[in-house]
């Protein structure tokens, strides 16, 4: 007998599943069935294919561009260059310094020079090859340190920003001093869904764009300026977004597709290949970092001095904010009374760099955690104990002079992480696949050494430095034709995989006591949600949904109060009905909604922050999140191969709104941290990317991924909905440092560069073994 189907009508006593439960994602079923429409799935009758012509040189002068052969090819509808950009010729997140198409000078390998629309992607590819660009090749500026004083390669100069922090007594000296120089390679976000979208010209002379992005409104504003159109004629709708991790904060194909659509009068689809994707988005900044830590004999930090040079590549992107984060969090989650920080983000002819998960804190965490280990060794103190002695807590002061007023459970994270179970020792008969090198079957069991490392990290949540950070939500509550109360949530929040769609439904259900919560398409027909970055959407868009629901509830309470001849304050909304506080009188939601739908739009702004002053001091950040990581690795020192066995982590999350989703964020973030530690690097040689493919840019596979054991510290954050903190970035920040510390433990090598390459271990280890 088939199970009776559940009644679809609203039953007022059924409790809506609320926040704090592992509610399933609403897009899960279409995604497993292959029916979820990603941006590269967009299709419309009569569309043509766009493709980009890119510079093969990192630095060149363009003497001329001849598009005549491409234009003449059958099936080609348009070829456009900088001459066809009728609006602003440049765009950018922080400064509009990046050309839509290079016209006179090319500043990085892969910079767009022209774009083509054709009726078949193969035709478009051949037309791109037929565009003749006359380049005068120049010597690229590829050394970030040299760029600080080199002749400018852009009218705006080579220094994007110098962040100078002088905190406490810059001349303070500790009894014990350790110094080190560190280097971070260029990591790629490697989201799986390539840059793609569909631009459709509209009858009013505007354009509709269906696109995968992180921030619809900032995309729209940049596109509209370059198209010289009013903003309301550029309408963006979020298409299914196959991951982001920071790599979709900057524009990629958006302006090109819109220009081609307006020029041809046809819908234009653009989909980057994986190779093009490596050239089509910004990466994590490579960095060189010098540190000097001062401490007392009993292991209290006295001063941290550091000089950071972040290579921002050819255009600003978000370099100015990345270097600010790197500088503000340069000393890690420790109380440091005195600090001298000079952070530089500079322009070179290397690939442009910008946002990636962790946003500046990743690079400095790797270096400063290595320094803490070095200091522990010098002091003969256990490295975890040294961290505990200096751990930040609420009411402590940061390098910026800001006093933390929210939750800062650093010591709690450290202790909880340490208490997590260790993995089993490597067995004597471990299968070869379990040894470092895995499928290569190269390592010998007896050569393998195990190491354990520890690291702690933190960063800010949401936007900082005086930016008015907000999100907008519109909630409409109404009766369906069959009389069920249904809430529609309209936000422009980019769902990039993180699961905001689930959290939005959970909040609306909890606040309004309804089961049916529909998510309207994210688009620019509602106010900005801000970016899906900085671990901010659960707090910011979650806060907006909560506020808009509260406004809807107010109206319902007023309606019920009128009915019952009471004051709204006498009533509460509880499990689908508006009841007096003594529970004696009630009006059902259905009754209250018979007077018509209730709609409210609200913004959530976090508490204001201040810019940094000339000494890098100020209340620049709103909220912070912390995490501790312990890594266990197996290393074959002779071959330089590493297998990461286990990562244990305790993370400060405020409150888990959806435990299953938090679990996934922590595991996924750790995967990216492990990748940066041991395998992920874009190899840039004289400005040219040498490995733009998943064959040569290695991502952690199911065989590479360690076991993750995790626990959370839940101390509610003030001013955040339900006390929740963002959870996306902390897993990525210090997991890298923990892995490298574990490799150091196994090998006794310094290992001051990530990713740690086999050569860094094998060639360094060789002399020792020969003795």
């Amino acid at each position: 007998m088939p199970a009776p189907s559940l009644p679809t009508t609203f039953t007022r006593k059924r409790r809506a599943p609320g926040v704090g439960e592992s509610v399933l994602r609403p897009d899960g079923i279409p995604k497993v069935k292959g029916q979820f429409a990603f941006s590269s799935d967009a299709w419309v009758e009569g569309m043509v294919w766009g493709r980009t012509v890119r510079s093969p040189y990192p630095a060149a002068r363009i003497r001329g561009i001849d598009v005549s052969a491409a234009v003449a090819m059958p099936g080609v509808h348009a070829v456009i260059t900088a001459e066809d950009v009728w609006g602003s010729p440049t765009y950018g997140l922080e400064h509009h310094d990046q050309p839509v198409f290079a016209s006179d000078v090319v500043r990085y390998h892969g910079e767009p020079v022209a774009a083509v629309a054709a009726d078949h992607p193969e035709t478009a590819q051949r037309a791109c090859a037929a565009v003749v660009v006359d380049y005068e090749v120049l010597e690229p500026l590829v050394d970030a340190e040299a760029a600080i004083t080199a002749a400018p390669i852009h009218p705006a100069g080579n220094i994007f920003r110098h962040v100078r922090i002088r905190h406490g007594d810059p001349d303070a000296v500790g009894e014990v001093v350790v110094e080190g120089t560190y280097e971070v390679g260029m990591q790629d976000q490697a989201f799986l869904g390539p840059e793609s979208g569909l631009a459709v010209p509209s009858e009013d002379g505007g354009v509709e764009l269906y696109v995968a992005t992180q921030w619809l409104h900032v995309d729209r504003d940049q596109i509209a300026a370059c198209l010289n159109l009013p903003r309301d004629k550029v309408r963006l709708t979020l298409a299914g977004t196959g991951g982001a991790f920071g790599g979709r904060e900057d524009l990629s194909m958006q302006i090109h597709a819109c220009l081609l659509a307006l020029k041809t009068g046809k819908p234009v689809k653009m989909v980057y290949s994986r190779e093009e994707s490596f050239f089509g988005h910004v990466h994590r900044h490579p960095a060189k970092l010098w540190y000097r830590h001062h401490a007392t004999r009993d292991g209290k930090l006295v001063k941290v001095e550091t000089r950071l040079v972040f290579d921002g590549g050819a255009y600003t992107s978000s370099s100015t904010a990345v270097i600010s984060n790197a500088s503000c969090f340069a000393a890690g989650p420790y109380l440091v009374p005195n600090a001298v920080v000079d952070g530089y983000a500079v322009r070179t002819n290397n690939p442009p760099c910008g946002a990636m998960r962790g946003f500046g804190a990743v690079q400095t965490s790797f270096a400063s955690e290595a320094q803490m280990d070095k200091l522990a060794q010098e002091l003969h103190i256990d490295p975890v104990e040294l961290r505990l002695r200096n751990a930040l807590k609420t009411h402590d002061e940061l390098l910026t002079g800001q006093v933390i007023i929210g939750a800062a459970p650093v010591a709690e994270c450290i202790r909880a992480c340490l208490a997590l179970p260790m993995p089993e020792p490597l067995s004597e008969d471990a299968p070869a696949m379990m040894l470092p090198g895995g499928a290569g079957l190269t390592a010998l069991r007896d050569d393998v050494r195990r190491g354990v490392g520890f690291a702690v990290g933190f960063k800010n949540l949401a936007f900082s430095e005086g930016f008015d950070d907000y999100s907008t939500a519109r909630i409409r509550l109404e009766l369906t034709p069959v009389g069920d109360p249904t809430a529609t949530v309209h936000v422009a929040t980019a769902e990039v995989g993180q699961g905001f769609v689930t959290v939005a439904q959970q909040i609306a259900r909890a606040e309004l006591g309804v089961h049916e919560v529909v998510l309207a398409a994210a688009d620019t027909q509602v106010g900005s949600a801000g970016s899906s970055s900085a671990s901010r959407q659960t707090m910011m868009s979650g806060g907006a949904v909560q506020a808009a629901c509260a406004a809807v509830r107010e109206v319902l309470l007023e309606r019920a109060a009128l009915e019952l001849h009471l004051a709204p304050a006498d009533l509460v909304l509880e499990e689908g009905e508006l009841v007096t506080k003594d529970g004696r009188h009630n009006v059902s939601l259905v009754e209250a909604l018979k007077a018509g739908p209730v709609e409210a739009t609200r913004e959530f702004h976090h508490a204001p922050t201040d810019p940094l002053d000339e000494n890098g001091q100020g209340n620049a950040h709103w909220s912070f999140a912390f995490a501790a990581h312990r890594a266990v690795v197996d290393v074959d020192p002779e071959l330089g191969l590493v297998r990461v066995v286990q990562i244990a982590t305790a993370q400060d999350i405020g409150k888990a709104l959806n435990p299953l989703a938090v679990t996934g964020q922590v595991e996924g973030g750790i995967a990216q941290g492990v990748g940066l530690a041991v395998m992920e690097e874009i190899i840039v040689d004289k400005g040219r990317i040498r490995n733009p493919s998943f064959t040569d840019y290695l991502l952690p596979t199911a065989l590479d991924m360690p076991t993750v054991v995790q626990t959370w510290i839940e101390q509610p954050e003030r001013g955040a909905p339900y006390g929740a903190k963002g959870v996306g970035e902390p897993p990525t920040i210090s997991s890298t440092g923990a892995v490298v510390a574990a490799i150091r433990d196994a090998t006794r090598l310094d290992l001051n560069r990530i990713p740690v390459r086999p050569d860094d271990i094998a060639l360094a280890a060789a002399p020792e073994r020969s003795r």
Binding site: P194, A244, G497
Partner: protein, 195 residues
Amino acid sequence: MTEQTPSDALHDPTTPDGSGREDYPAPGAGPDVLAALESYTLAVNGRDRDVTEAWLGESLLWVLRERLGLPGAKNACEQGECGSCSVLLDGRLVASCCVLAADAVGSQITTVEGLSGEGELSDVQRAFVEEGAVQCGFCTPGLVVAIHDVLHRNPRATELELREAISGDLCRCTGYGRIFAAVRRVQQERAHART
């Protein structure tokens, strides 16, 4: 990693004319690429599907997605490295980006859309949803197909065998933890059903 094989104009500017374009016919040298077109029939998810006037260079992935309205197989790398385009070709797991569509004539093709009926979920699909194995979802269809395949061939696969079996399927969001949880659940459910 010192030298790369040039693969397109962007990749290597060291070709004789400095343009890196030798992979492609010279401009204007040949006829329109769409001038020589073929029509053929593919057997997809148990149905014959006509492909009309198609360029023979099109991959199976592209034809499924763009000509047959089956976008479930995904285009994450289009060079056989990521597994997101996985389909079954006569029951064998293949990367559809690396198969020419016209070469698949006469084979039975099963895509993610063909694994379960309308409104239904396979056990693997259900476990993915309920165990939190889905985040952005771009790798999901390929992984679902690959896990159907490995559990069909090796129902009692050990964790190491499973890890190896899906090591050709890249996931950038999940760190694979919830994916393993989903696979373990399907194995338990199927083992329970066998007893």
